[in-house]
Amino acid sequence: MSLAEYRGLQAVDGPLVFVDGVRGVGYDEAVEIVGPDGRPRRGRVVLIEEDRAVVQVFAGTAALVPDGSRVRFLGRHLEMALSPSILGRTFDGLGEPRDGCGAVLGGFQSDINGRPINPMARAYPRDFIHTGLSVIDTLMTLIRGQKLPIFSSNGLPHNRLAVQIASQSRITSGDNFAVVFVGIGIRNDDAAYFIEALRDAGKGQPPVVFLNLASDPVIERLAAPRTALTAAEYLAFDLGYHVLVVMTDMTNYCEALRELAVARGEVPSRKGYPGYLYSDLASLYERAGVLRDRPGSLTQLPILTMPNDDITHPIPDLTGFITEGQIVLSREQDAQGAYPPVDIPASLSRLMKDSIGKGYTRDDHPDLAGQLFASYSRVQEIRALAGVVGEDELGATEKSYLRFGDAFERRFLSQGDQEDREIGVSLDLAWELLAILPRTELNRLPSELVRKHLPSKATK
């Protein structure tokens, strides 16, 4: 296609501009708009209607003068330049360097939208990722190739947790481990914290960073995770790295999507978000995985802040339907000083069932995890009961649950943000704590495991 240039914009409306009289323009084509100020802005075609193209401008339309602007349709999709030298670099949401170190050299261009993985080409994720956090390793195990989001709320230490996971993750031995970090609409100090911490992590390769700060153009947030995932796919499936992608904050992404949808006059569904929010999020999250005939893997750790701590809000809700589990952070645990303040009953890793136990972690792991979940859930019931009738009215068994619950939260759930526990240590600790309960209460555990692992009362 010829790179035709058009002069003048028919209309400007929010993040959208309308260009009339165009020919040969394709849907989703990349666009460059140069205003009279000479500053180029990038965009993409979101609707093409006969000879009118509607362009979404990433940098926003402020100060665009319709008359003097020139529009070039680039005849290709939005692309990111890829080469091994992206490791350690910092880019903006559109994949342009923002570290002042110049363009990516010797690379090739890749469409940031990616293409869906054929389910037959996938390998089912089975490799346990050691995070060194008892609660995660034991109860919501992270698996290589998984997408496991952190559902958090404002003011909770999700950033600290994400950094700890990223830096303690022993995805594999050797240096073929890489972190891609995407900041979507986050504050400058959060971004600085992440970059600093990930650089110090000192394992594997220097992180690849994509930043769209809170002060950066809103619509560019829609491109940031796509650009980053394109880079991550390249590192994982072309270069063979085991890549961990930390994406924060997905709530900002969804809000940018809503803003664009409203500007386009689309029929809203829940809370004003567009009806395709699910499909759109899936087009990001589904880019995680492991392929059968290629080395490398792509693991996603998206972070989102639940508006008003509401887990039924469309953003966490639709995310939970796509991702393979979730780690939910609890304000209550945080207030009691627990770190990581994980809401255990609400958290889940869907892939752990096939990747723990004999040959993966330890033979007692699956049943032990089931028992911990069940016993801890009983703790909640008994605490509620104690709140009504008072602790003194409880029976001996019920009181032992209260003791178990407190010890479990204090010693098992909580640990230091530098503390790296082996899975064996975590599992032994769990057995030690379960010994607080009467043996008849451990009905999720096969008798031979109890005999083998449960410390006798004398040694308690």
């Binding site: 093409i48 006969e50 993985i117």
Partner: protein, 593 residues
């Protein structure tokens, strides 16, 4: 005939075009230079609207639109079983070889390969008169399934020629026949059928027999009949997909069609890796030999998601027509409804509730009505049992898809967040779920498993219902102040929940034969009645509760389904313990309580 239209506008999967005056509604089209597939969904004079089953990136106004002369159809014939197809019926294995790990677009229509070789056994002779549904030939497709090639609906006549016994390509002509008007008709081995048109049957029958699922909470509490319709609603993380997988694994259907509609790619991979390794308890063959997968993962095009449901249904009906019992799992129907909503939004239709189009209920009704037990055109009996997962936003069952689905199904397995949080799986709620088939299939269980099935089941459900009240009281005042009769209810209910209703998706307990289901139910009821008698005589419940024998009731589900004699052993020990307690108590005079 050269029917070519031109693109006017592109808006995501929705494309407007002109020059469509000779196109038919719902006709399949090839769009653009890439030859992307789509279908006509609106016609207005010379113009019309198309929905595309592939991504529309790069499509330009002016590019051609070519009519394919038939509505969206799926290819039916040997080679389907064990395959994984995309939403419009293209084999993903062939696409993988052609385009690699990442899916490509375009290239027009390509479905079941005709170049695979099959051993065909003809079942009719030259000169025979055949009518619609007549058996023409068979193909041993897998050790588990004989593929029966039937005369398609609407055809009859005299056989002029039939493929001789031997190995033939899928692209072969199966038979030639002369119809009633003296015209010669050619019948290919691989047929096509439009997915949105239900395949005709001779008669619809009432459900009678259960579809055994090997899941205790279903077979024992909320059974489904062959040809029945069920929904599994549940918020994320409550185990919809695991439950659907369990049903796909262990249902005693002849064939299972599993539609992954807008769900995770890894889940399809899991089925692909797991099923070939799992063995069908009835036949000893790998489960994959009776399974067909339809995969439209959540990042695949949305219009193909809408079509995937119909593709799966048509394949299920095709095998039903051979006289087989087919079970179809759709995970999840909510994604399908959302695909309808997305297309409807792009068409700027006036939305009804929460953005869903007003025709949502009628589409759901059409979908669920394609299930049923029938007499086929060939006179055989077959069935399609349909189990749809529903993913209500926020776990709220009052949202439109769940609400309308409830109108058209007769079996409702509600997944509860609280149960899932406590890792009580399957998290099927015993209070919110129901099965309207329970009464219809009870005679079958009573004549095939045990005459006391209905009685025992009713008693078990009564105990759980009573436990609901007891638990409310416990929440208020604690357990200690309750009389022993009520504490016994709470004890037995907890045995039912742990020892009967819970069932692991992995390991030996994953499949539970009906005889074991009954044995557990019966033993728990037996214990309840004996303990009740003791309590009535004034024996304190704690003497009963804190025994090894009662603890063993919590583990009944761990007993091997093949070794039912172990239940007798446990019953004997329980019996003697209870007798001893009773005797000691009566001899020992007043309790020290």
């Amino acid at each position: 005939m050269n029917r070519i239209g031109r693109i006017l506008s592109v808006n995501g999967p929705v494309v407007r075009a002109t020059g469509l005056s000779s196109f038919a509604m719902r006709e399949m089209v090839e769009v653009g230079e890439l030859r992307l597939l789509g279908e006509v969904i609106r016609l207005d004079g010379n113009e019309g609207v198309l929905q595309l089953f592939e991504e529309t990136q790069g499509l330009r106004p002016g590019e051609p639109v070519k009519g394919l002369g038939e509505p969206l159809s799926v290819t039916l014939g040997p080679g389907l079983v064990g395959a994984i197809l995309d939403g419009i019926g293209r084999p993903l294995g062939a696409l993988l070889e052609k385009t690699g790990a990442f899916m490509d677009r375009g290239g027009g229509l390509q479905q079941l390969e005709g170049d695979r070789n099959w051993e065909v056994f003809p079942q009719v002779r030259k000169g025979e008169i055949v009518t619609e549904g007549s058996l023409l030939a068979t193909v041993k497709e897998t050790p588990l399934l004989e593929h029966r090639l039937l005369l398609p609906p609407g055809m009859e006549g005299e056989i002029l020629e039939i493929l001789p016994q031997g190995h033939h390509d899928g692209s072969a002509v199966l038979a030639r026949l002369r119809d009633g008007f003296g015209r010669e008709r050619v019948l290919p081995l691989i047929q096509r059928w439009p997915v949105r048109t239900p395949r005709p049957v001779r008669q619809r029958l009432l459900p009678e027999e259960p579809l055994l699922t090997g899941q205790r909470v279903i077979d024992g509490y909320f059974p489904i009949a062959r040809g029945g319709v069920a929904a599994i609603p549940g918020g994320f993380g409550t185990g919809k997909t695991v439950t659907q997988h369990q049903l796909a694994k262990w249902s005693d259907a002849k064939l299972v069609v599993y539609i992954g509609c807008g769900e995770r790619g890894n889940e399809m991979t899991q089925v692909l890796e797991e099923f070939p390794a799992l063995v069908d308890p009835a036949t000893g063959h790998p489960l994959m030999e009776r399974t067909i997968l339809i995969a439209n993962t959540s990042n695949m095009p949305v219009a193909a998601r809408e079509a995937s449901i119909y593709t799966g249904l048509t394949i299920a009906e095709y095998f039903r027509d051979m006289g087989y019992d087919v079970a179809l799992m759709a995970d999840s129907t909510s994604r399908w409804a959302e695909a309808l909503r997305e297309i409807s939004g792009r068409l700027e239709e006036i939305p009804a509730e929460e953005g869903f189009p007003a025709y949502l209920p009628s589409r759901l009704a059409e979908f669920y009505e394609r299930a049923g037990r029938v007499t086929t055109l060939g006179g055989e009996q077959g069935s399609v049992t349909l189990i749809g997962a529903v993913s209500p936003p926020g776990g709220d069952f009052t949202e439109p898809v769940t609400r309308h689905t409830k109108r058209f199904i007769r079996c409702f397995w509600a997944l509860e967040r609280e149960l899932a949080s406590a890792r009580h799986y399957p998290a099927i709620s015993w209070t919110a779920s129901y099965s309207e088939y329970a009464a219809e299939v009870r005679p079958w269980f009573e004549s095939h498993v045990d005459p006391r099935w209905g009685e025992v089941q009713t008693e078990l459900r009564r105990i759980l219902a009573e436990d609901e009240h007891v638990q409310q009281v416990i929440q208020l005042v604690g357990e200690d102040v309750l009389p022993d009769e009520q504490r016994l209810i709470a004890l037995v209910a907890s045995i039912i929940k742990t020892g009967f209703l819970q069932q692991g998706a992995f390991g030996p307990d994953s499949y539970c034969p009906p005889a074991k289901t009954f044995a557990i139910m019966e033993l728990i009821v037996h214990f309840y009645r004996r303990a009740q008698a003791l309590v009535a005589k004034g024996v304190p419940l704690r003497l009963v509760r804190e025994t090894q024998e009662v603890a063993s009731l919590y583990r009944l589900r761990e007993i091997d389904g093949e070794k039912l004699e172990e239940f007798e052993e446990i019953r004997r020990r329980l019996e003697s313990r209870l007798e001893r307690i009773g005797a000691e108590r009566l001899a020992g005079g007043r309790d020290r309580r």
